[in-house]
């Protein structure tokens, strides 16, 4: 499945991946609308790296992303995670964010 099927104007929407430190992987942190890749990187820096550490950014047009479907039988049976109760208290929220 190509993500352009879901995202309107997938040509002009770029997925942004942030690498926090050299030994971290690139993580998808959100997307930007931009006319081209270089502008997407320039704009992604402030929207996705103004509070969090970052040594490197990737951007990819949504039209260039191929994805499996969520109902893909080959995948591990999606665990019915109970994490929807994640609401959690402030403390837990802090624990999660201090991890960064």
């Amino acid at each position: 499945m190509n993500l352009a099927e879901i995202t309107p104007g997938a040509e002009g929407v770029f997925a942004v991946f942030r690498q926090e430190t050299k030994n971290d992987p690139h993580v998808h942190v959100g997307d930007v609308h931009a006319p081209d890749a270089e502008m997407a990187l320039v704009l992604a820096k402030e929207q996705f790296a103004r509070r969090d550490p970052c040594v490197n950014l990737w951007v990819v047009r949504y039209a260039d992303i191929a994805a499996t479907s969520y109902r893909d039988a080959d995948m591990l049976e999606p665990s019915t995670d109970k994490s929807y109760r994640f609401g959690g208290s402030y403390r837990e929220q802090q624990r999660v964010y201090r991890r960064r």
């Binding site: 879901i6 104007g9 040509e11 929407v13 959100g30 081209d36 509070r51 019915t80 994490s83 964010y97």
Partner: protein, 313 residues
């Protein structure tokens, strides 16, 4: 936007969908969902995005007048966060089937809603502190509860939004304290702002919930996680003490803690005003939409240039 009838979805698909939700699963943009689920999520998230974009405007008026360099930088950063939240939320709404440009056109044309509180004026510097503590504090209750909603992209983006809203409340409390413990003029300005904002803030969570099929479906589908009353009580429990802590007067004389019922009693808000404001007849609705329309028109040549450039790129 007419909500498509539920019957349009095949019964077994709907049954399987509801079973998955009941078991705690969430829904992603690429998955099948009932047409009504998609419409309700889009309406909720688009309104939330609109509210962030319009929500920036009252405080924004005070950026040029912030009284110190530290307050000015913090206020610019805070309003920037609201614009950033709008960016994140429009992007989530988009994948439910409506391009961002269309959502912004609808907002500017007054054809789609945004939260009641952002239809009101920010008349003094103290309004900024009141908005940051009590309006952001109120929004935090709703956003915090929706982190466990069933639409996965929304739940994920709310984690970051709540993380940043928390700074806004602490920033607001710092200004609130400086005014409350400041000169008599500062303290009077703060009480006046609190008095003016109390009714819109009580309206913020919406009218008392009537049990209805609509509400029941929203809760079952986990598009709504807590009722308006639960959220309002949660807000009052957390923020009425802040008013009392600094010896300010709670603007509702009837407001009191009812020990036996384990909740606050308060004067019934004027829900007719709430409906009027939400329809787009608030004191600043027209002025703010017109300001947005003016800039939107002024920038048309920029949008056209960027579109021409994107085609060539």
């Amino acid at each position: 936007m007419t909500v498509p009838p539920e019957a349009a979805d095949e019964p077994e698909q709907l049954g399987a969908f509801e079973a998955r939700l009941a078991a705690g699963d969430r829904v992603e943009a690429g998955e099948w969902m009932p047409a009504r689920y998609r419409a309700e999520c889009l309406r909720l998230i688009q309104m939330h995005a609109n509210s962030e974009l319009m929500g920036a405007l009252p405080e924004r008026e005070w950026i040029p007048r912030a009284p110190t360099l530290a307050r000015k930088m913090a206020l610019v950063a805070k309003v920037q966060d609201e614009i950033g939240h709008a960016q994140l939320l429009y992007r989530v709404a988009e994948d439910l089937g409506k391009p961002r440009t269309q959502m912004i056109e609808e907002l500017i044309a007054g054809a789609s809603k945004f939260h009641n509180v952002f239809h009101y004026p920010a008349e003094t510097w103290a309004d900024v502190a009141i908005i940051q503590v009590f309006v952001d504090g109120a929004a935090m209750q709703t956003q915090g509860s929706l982190r466990s909603c069933s639409y996965a992209p929304y739940a994920r983006v709310l984690k970051r939004i709540c993380y940043e809203e928390d700074f806004h409340i602490r920033l607001g409390l710092d200004s609130f304290r400086a005014l409350a413990e400041g000169t008599p003029r500062q303290r009077a300005m703060l009480q006046d702002a609190l008095d003016r904002w109390w009714q819109p803030i009580m309206h913020f969570f919406g009218p008392r919930d009537q049990v209805s099929p609509h509400l029941e479906t929203m809760m079952r589908w986990r598009i709504k996680v807590k009722t308006n009353d639960e959220l309002r009580q949660q807000f009052l429990r957390q923020f009425v003490p802040v008013i009392q802590e600094y010896g300010l007067r709670v603007p509702d004389p009837d407001l009191r803690w009812d020990e036996t019922a384990g909740q606050y009693r308060y004067a019934e808000p004027d829900w007719e005003e709430f409906r009027r404001v939400i329809r787009g007849e608030g004191p600043r609705t027209k002025a703010r939409l017109e300001l947005r329309q003016r800039y939107h028109a002024q920038h048309r040549w920029v949008r056209e240039a960027v579109a021409r450039w994107a085609l060539a790129a």
